[in-house]
């Protein structure tokens, strides 16, 4: 039921994540980060998230690009649930319309 490679991957994730959780407390409680290091740490989550979805921005399917534009607009104004609903609906609809 549990694939050994999947189990190892999950354990690796869990170990890495727990280290990040205690790392700040253990290493930085009596120290301050440099300004550059702080800037890098602050930018990191956004850099990773946008890199993961970058392929959607260069999709060869015009229907998906149209849906992405609608979703981007929704994300700037709405909260999580309506944005996801609009994103999924616009992708389903534009694929059905444009193909």
């Amino acid at each position: 039921m549990i694939d050994p490679m999947t189990f190892l991957a999950i354990l690796a994730m869990a170990g890495v994540t727990y280290l990040t959780r205690i790392g700040g407390y253990v290493m930085l409680k009596n120290r301050a980060l440099s300004r550059r290091a702080t800037a890098v740490m602050e930018a990191a989550p956004g850099c990773v998230l946008i890199s993961v979805i970058a392929p959607d921005f260069v999709s060869r399917n015009p229907a998906d690009l149209a849906a992405l534009a609608i979703t981007l607009l929704a994300a700037t104004r709405l909260s999580m649930l309506p944005t996801v609903v609009i994103g999924v609906a616009s992708a389903g609809l534009s694929r059905w319309l444009i193909g």
Binding site: G24, C47, M80
Partner: protein, 247 residues
Amino acid sequence: MSVSEIAVAEGQATNMRGAELRRGLAASVPVLLGIIPYALVLGAQAAQKGLGLLEVPLMTGLNFAGGSEFAAIQLWSSPPHILLIAGITLLVNSRHFLMGAALAPFIKQLPKRRVFPALFLMCDESWAVGLADAQRRAAAGTRPAFSLPFYLGAALPFYLAWVAFTTCGAALGPVLGDVEKYGFAMAFPAVFLVLLRGMWKGFAAARPWLVSLAAAALTYLLVPGAWYVAVGALSGLVAAWFLADET
């Protein structure tokens, strides 16, 4: 202090812990509603990548960090590339270092046997709620500023809801069949774009993100495999390092 006085004092301390726990539970409710759709989408996507009904709660229960789980599932293959997944998890969760450092002054008086389990439950939401409460109490002169029962009351519902609803998503996902054809693939960019909006601190601070987007998109078009994530993320970090002078 007589025996009865000690009993009364202990009773009051227990009551206060209970009240603090309930105050935390109340603080968690509004944010809880926001994470349920994420959890369902993640579970459904994980099921589509071949993770089973035991593997999904194993991941979300042991790792318990939504952003890294979305990123990992997006890159999941059979068999999974363990180093890539661990590396991406580290990059996505590197913000925890900053969060723990911000919390450190408030929790360094607590015994380590309490701090280490409590930090396992530190996610964006519980951290934000717990830190804001500690800052408020510190400003009001309440001691101790950081209320551990309040924090646990706010964090535990997140944990239980995250594990339960990702499992529900995994169970419901296969019923829907191939989620791609309904446009469910757009749920990922939608979730990520809303997360990015939440991190938005003006255009200047977002310039490393644009560097990441351009580098990742170019790498995706030119190089086969999942390298685009690592190249994009690292390009953005290098940009952040050099742009730090101006901001």
